[in-house]
Amino acid sequence: MKKKEKAQILDEMGISRALTRIAHEIIEKNKGTQDLVLVGLRSRGVDLARRISQKLKEIDGMEVPVGVLDITLYRDDLGSMGPQPVVRKTEIPFSINDKKVVLVDDVLYTGRTIRAALDGLIDFGRPRSIQLAVLVDRGHRELPIRADYVGKNVPTSRAEQVQVMLKEEDDVDRVVILEPVNC
């Protein structure tokens, strides 16, 4: 289905402010960055996790490690959508045992991706806690999952799509809502 842009929700400055606030909230809630690790979900969650880590360093002076999680092997819809999605690498080069893990993703929608990520993460060890940070929460949850840190809450309809564009992959920092075009 063809989609066209309906509205811009965040620009470059907006994204930066949201991530700065999330970084402050992470420090506040965890009373610093001790034992903290970030795990970004492929692919834009990884870019966001790296940015948050950078901001944490600016605020607290500590290096917070960033891991990469690809949830493809944990999806609940494999085999039901034609060709298999491409599996990419998971790289968590540190132990998550007894760590406070903050999962980072771009958009929180049905919650199924996060369900898969929780399964994936727990295969790597037993963290002390797992928290969730997202740039956009667009509602329509299908599972009992919520985010601890939200950049922006955006009411949407299911027919719409939230698209996050980041300089690392898309050459521009912006978040937009796309709506279907009636032909």
Partner: protein, 307 residues
């Protein structure tokens, strides 16, 4: 993106894009084998049957481990202990297995084309794990993966396959695979073990090993398959070893960064000297580890779009 066909029967039928997809997927799968918990739930509830009409340790074990790391249920059938010895035909065995609803059947058979017969009879995905002297596609894929992992690319590299080309399904699959990925391929062996018209596959043929290994990036040694050679193809093993065995002395003629491969099982002291097989250039054990990753990738990719 995905594999176009239901089955993996030969390298000849794969495109360069499909080979690249399989190798890329295998790269991601390899990480799973490095974890403490070496298992992901991807193929939960899927059934893989290993149907082996010929002895095999590494290939069968490799498929079994690959299936289990993806949470599939894996059943092994060794035909010498099955109703095949009571005279059941391949088609009937296939239909019987199909009645139990497997998703993938991995078959090794002494007759070339046996996997294709099964693929046409059954709705499950069929993976050829070696059919006579025809093809052994998963071996070629893991070989390509191993070379790419070391060199960072395949395009523009050159390889030589040495030994019993006539009886080797590994050679045939690798010739197709390497050529498709842009490698140049040489073959070397005694004239009696080089099939006629093999040069039509776009390879250079040598009967002098020392000439053949000059300048190439990869040497792939093959096992002398005494069990397939109904008659004598060379005067003695000792003479074969003297002319076509890879030893340290001979290796001095190869490039300094040469890679040495062997699909196994190796005949130490026949086609390859122990110092070479265990030496720093040897990738023999990398090939085994990578076999699991490549087979995981295939099971994953075949179980997607096919049905």
């Amino acid at each position: 993106m995905g594999l176009k066909q239901k089955d993996l029967l030969s390298m000849r039928e794969l495109s360069a894009e499909e080979i690249t997809l399989i190798l890329d997927t295998a790269e991601s799968m390899k990480e799973v084998s490095t974890r403490d918990i070496k298992k992901v739930p991807t193929l939960r509830g899927k059934t893989v049957i290993n149907l082996f009409y010929e002895p095999s340790t590494r290939t069968r074990t490799s498929f079994e481990i690959a299936g289990k790391r993806l949470s599939a249920d894996v059943v092994n059938i060794a035909t010498e202990k099955s109703s095949v010895v009571k005279g059941e035909t391949l088609r009937d065995t296939g239909k019987t297995l199909m009645a139990m609803n497997p998703d993938v059947v991995v078959i090794r058979h002494p007759a070339p084309g046996a996997p294709r017969i099964l693929a046409e009879t059954l709705s499950a995905s069929i993976i050829n794990a070696g059919d006579g002297a025809h093809e052994h596609p998963t071996q070629a894929l893991l070989d390509l993966f191993t070379i790419r992992e070391r060199k960072g690319r395949l395009e523009g590299l050159s390889g030589v396959i040495v030994g019993d080309i006539l009886h080797s399904r590994v050679a045939r699959s690798n010739i197709h695979g390497m050529r498709k990925m842009g490698m140049s391929v040489r073959l070397a062996g005694p004239a009696t073990l080089l099939p006629r018209f093999i040069d039509q596959l776009g390879v250079e043929v040598f009967t002098d090993l020392e000439e053949a290994i000059k300048g190439v990036d990869v040497i792939m040694m093959l096992r002398i398959q005494l069990e397939r050679q109904g008659r004598t193809f060379f005067p003695s093993l000792r003479e074969y070893s003297r002319l076509f065995g890879l030893n340290l002395e001979r290796l001095k003629r190869a490039r300094e960064d040469i890679l040495i491969m062997h699909p196994g099982p190796i005949n130490r002291g026949v086609e390859i000297a122990p110092e070479v097989a265990d030496g720093p250039y040897s990738l023999i054990l990398d090939q085994v580890s990578n076999g699991v990753a490549v087979r995981m990738a295939l099971l994953y990719l075949l179980m997607g779009g096919a049905s």
